[in-house]
């Protein structure tokens, strides 16, 4: 038991400390287990480690004994924008500040008598991190930084009805916090229409929880086939404790600065609502030979829930805004294979991720696009009876160049909205360490 407590505590601490942000379709992060991600995320029917808590809790009934699976990924998105139209105009491109994100994962499962199994997990299934240099980015009035972090705690119970069918259900609590920054600009007084920044606006919230639930099943008709499915409910987090500040930026003209000092809104509270979509997944795994597994999954993410992002200010209602997003449904097809050799296991896969974002929601805050992902992974068993496992993967994600139009307000004429084409590439690598008792 003492041996269990140490990695558990370490995992929980790591998960809390590293809970972080990244971007996948919309703002979901599917990088939740190295073995499954080696197969490009196609694991709904074949996941065989404790990340089943996330990928299909019903599969927990097929895991032996007690298992833990701890690790994380490093995500490095590279995004740039080529301007078009009247705002910001053709002929220039801008690169997002490069960042690396480290979403952590920790899972533990335990087989109980009478076909029961339980599992818990800590992970960061959603997140978003974008940052543009406010000094050079012409869309700084829309966004200079977005930092959405989540931490999800799951507890699941699975039951094997028989050797063919298993069912599972569980509860989730998702904590979320957000930071949004942009700039306020005004025309240079007496100038030719150019803008001068007058304030950095920063909204910062604390961690706030939202409840959710999940259900899953797995069906094994014969030794070669498995069919799995899961559903994870939408989660709504009401942020009612955020603070917003308006830090004045000196313009170089003390008269103007003195005038503006009295015009900027005071620091105050702000509330908003963060919505995270329900997710469906169904997958079929086939073993053409005992050492091979191939799987294909189809997933739906109900991004329609991300209809808007309201901001309600406590002292200055005149600046209340609702950013319209009008996301649709996202879907993904994932296909992967695993070949288990005596010395190691290798995996590979491909997935296509259809963006749920309409053109009007493809913005510097979240330049979403269709993506193609190609993965490769390795797994090793170590120690006595190979109780230790190490899985690692590499996933490269090519987003299709995407045109987007961003409006700061619905009153803005279409031709003067911020528009351009975004290009994104994401390099992702991850590792998980597993142990089985």
């Amino acid at each position: 038991m003492g041996r269990l407590r140490t990695p558990l505590v370490a995992a929980v601490l790591a998960a809390i400390l590293l809970a972080t942000n990244a971007q996948a379709a919309g703002y979901s992060i599917y990088e939740q287990g190295a073995a499954v991600l080696g197969m490009a995320g196609a694991g709904t029917a074949s996941v065989h480690d404790a990340s089943a808590v996330y990928f299909n809790p019903a599969m927990m009934t097929r895991l032996e004994g007690t298992q833990v699976y701890l690790g994380g990924s490093a995500l490095q998105p590279i995004t740039s924008l080529a301007g078009e139209g009247a705002n910001p105009g053709f002929g220039a491109s801008y690169e997002m500040v490069r960042q690396t994100f480290y979403p952590p994962t920790f899972y533990a499962t335990h087989r109980l008598p009478r076909g029961l199994a339980i599992g818990v997990g800590l992970n960061a299934p959603f997140g978003l991190g974008t940052e543009w240099d406010p000094a050079t980015f012409p869309g700084s009035y829309l966004s200079t930084k977005v930092d959405l972090q989540t931490l999800n705690a799951s507890a699941c119970l699975a039951y094997a009805l028989n050797e063919q069918w298993s069912l599972a259900g569980g509860a989730d609590v998702l904590w979320a916090k957000a930071k949004l920054q942009n700039r306020e600009l005004i025309p240079v007084p007496g100038g030719g229409g150019a803008l001068v920044p007058i304030a950095d606006v920063s909204l910062t919230s604390g961690w706030k929880p939202g409840p959710g639930w999940n259900a899953a099943l797995v069906f094994t008709p014969n030794a070669q086939w498995k069919v799995g499915a899961y559903y994870r409910s939408k989660i709504v987090v009401h942020i009612d404790d955020a603070d917003v500040s308006f830090a004045q930026i000196p313009t170089g003209d003390p008269v103007l600065d003195a005038l503006l000092a009295g015009e900027l809104p005071p620091a105050q509270g702000v509330s908003t609502v963060l919505r995270f979509p329900a997710m469906w997944s169904v997958g079929a795994a086939f073993q053409p030979r005992p050492a091979w597994t191939v799987e294909t999954d189809f997933q739906l993410h109900e991004w329609k829930v991300f209809s808007d992002l309201p901001l309600t200010f406590s002292e200055t209602p005149a600046i209340n805004t609702t950013r319209i997003e009008n996301y649709g449904t996202g879907w993904q097809i994932r296909a992967g294979a695993e070949h288990r050799l005596p010395a190691f296991t290798y995996r590979f896969g491909y997935y296509f991720d259809h963006s749920p974002a309409p053109t009007e929601a493809v913005t510097p805050l979240l330049p979403d696009a269709d993506r193609h992902g190609v993965s490769a992974g390795l797994g090793f068993g170590l120690g006595k009876d190979k109780r230790w496992t190490v899985d690692a993967y590499e996933l490269v994600l090519f987003a299709v160049n995407r045109f987007g139009v961003a409006a700061a307000s619905p009153a803005e004429p279409v031709e003067y909205r911020f528009q351009g084409k975004y290009k994104t590439f994401v390099n992702i690598a991850g590792i998980n360490l597993g142990y089985r008792w």
Binding site: I78, S80, L81, A82, G83, E84, G85, A86, N87, P88, G89, F90, G91, A92, S93, E95, P138, G139, Y141, L142, E184, L185, I186, P187, V188, P189, G190, G191, G192, G193, A194, L195, V196, G252, D253, P254, V255, L256, L259, V374, V396, F398, N401, A408, S409, A411, E412, P413, E415, Y416, R417, F418, G420, K421, Y422, K423, F425, N427
Partner: protein
Amino acid sequence: MNRMIRRYAAVTLAALFVAGTIGSCSKIKPISAPVAGGGSASFSLYAAMGTSIGAGYQSGGLVYRHQLHAYPALFARQVGSTFTYPAISDSGLPPLLRLISLAGPVILPGTHRGAPTNLALPTPYTNMSVPGALLFDVMDSTLYAPGSGRDTIFSIIARRQGTILQQIVRLRPTFVSFEFGANEVLGPATRGSGTPLFSAAQFAGLLHVTLDSLQAGLPSTKLALFTVPDVTTIPFVTTIKPYLVNPADGSHIPLIGPGGALTESDFVLLTAAPYLAAGIGVPVAAGGTGNPLPSGVVLLASDASSIRSAVDGYNAAIAAEAAGRGAALVDLHGLLITAATTGLRIGATSYSSAFLTGGLFSLDGIHPTDLGHGIIANAMIDAVNAQFGASVPHVSLSDAATATASRLRPARGEGDARWPRIEGLAEALRALYPRR
């Protein structure tokens, strides 16, 4: 053999993957503006006929750095047409007004008089927009003559090489923009008169004859006609309220016009600022002299109404001519109404007709800023694209906008918090709109 093929295939795939990955890592290349398509129009040579607006007149003068931002220059750039203009060196002709301090504010005339730099250009300028020009001047050079009060500006642009019309015809342009009518109402309005230089009927008749003559000389040339802005919405007219606000209770204290206390529907022109600073027009009870403002710096509500009626009549004639001749109609009038009422949103900024802070009007309160010209150019592009099935790309407004239409300096404690101090504006207007 099969093993070799597999090995080469694997290496090739790996190389492709690495190349694709490296390529994907790179920053997206800037996108060039699409080449303008003319549709049923041709932009191989574009020429502009118009007023001070088209000339790029700003802050009380002409200077090359704003002439190059005038909407004809921007449109020519978008369609790839040669653009020539009567360049004036720093600091403009007349020297441009300068914003000295926002406290007050304080606006003073420039000190260095600019001069023409390309008078010897052998061909007419493609931008034949002339500050102060009337529709009458397009075909009649009488008022270009020395002693007319406008000979300086006409001698620079028309260069005694014939009328505006004759010079435009000589250029043989394939596309012409035509923007006249503002001065017929602006000249009187800036002197406090409600009597336009031409009645709507006179303007309509003259417009018809002028356009007939233009098309007789250039039968296959396509046209874009501009409507006339409502000059009672510009900051020159709207900035100074006809009343003072009583700090004690917020009530309004009417200023004194030539006929007594002004109503809240009357307008006090920007040229009234020196009088007000001297207490003229300000009631004794409010610390003034009690003497009335001169009539030339007040536009009474009835006069403003008369001006608006004339503008409406002019615009009806312009719209009818555009429809009858298959010309594009550029709604400059509507654009200024939007700026004066709801404001014009670009990004998160609402640009307006507010003086100094609105971003659209230069320091004379009459003429557009560089950004204003970008917006006008885009309105022209929209109208041309719609009328001729053309595909002219919009002007980038961030490129069009400039930070220093004037000099923005730190305050030096000058100025009176109550009234703007603007020197040189009346003189600039007299050069632009001499009494006829």
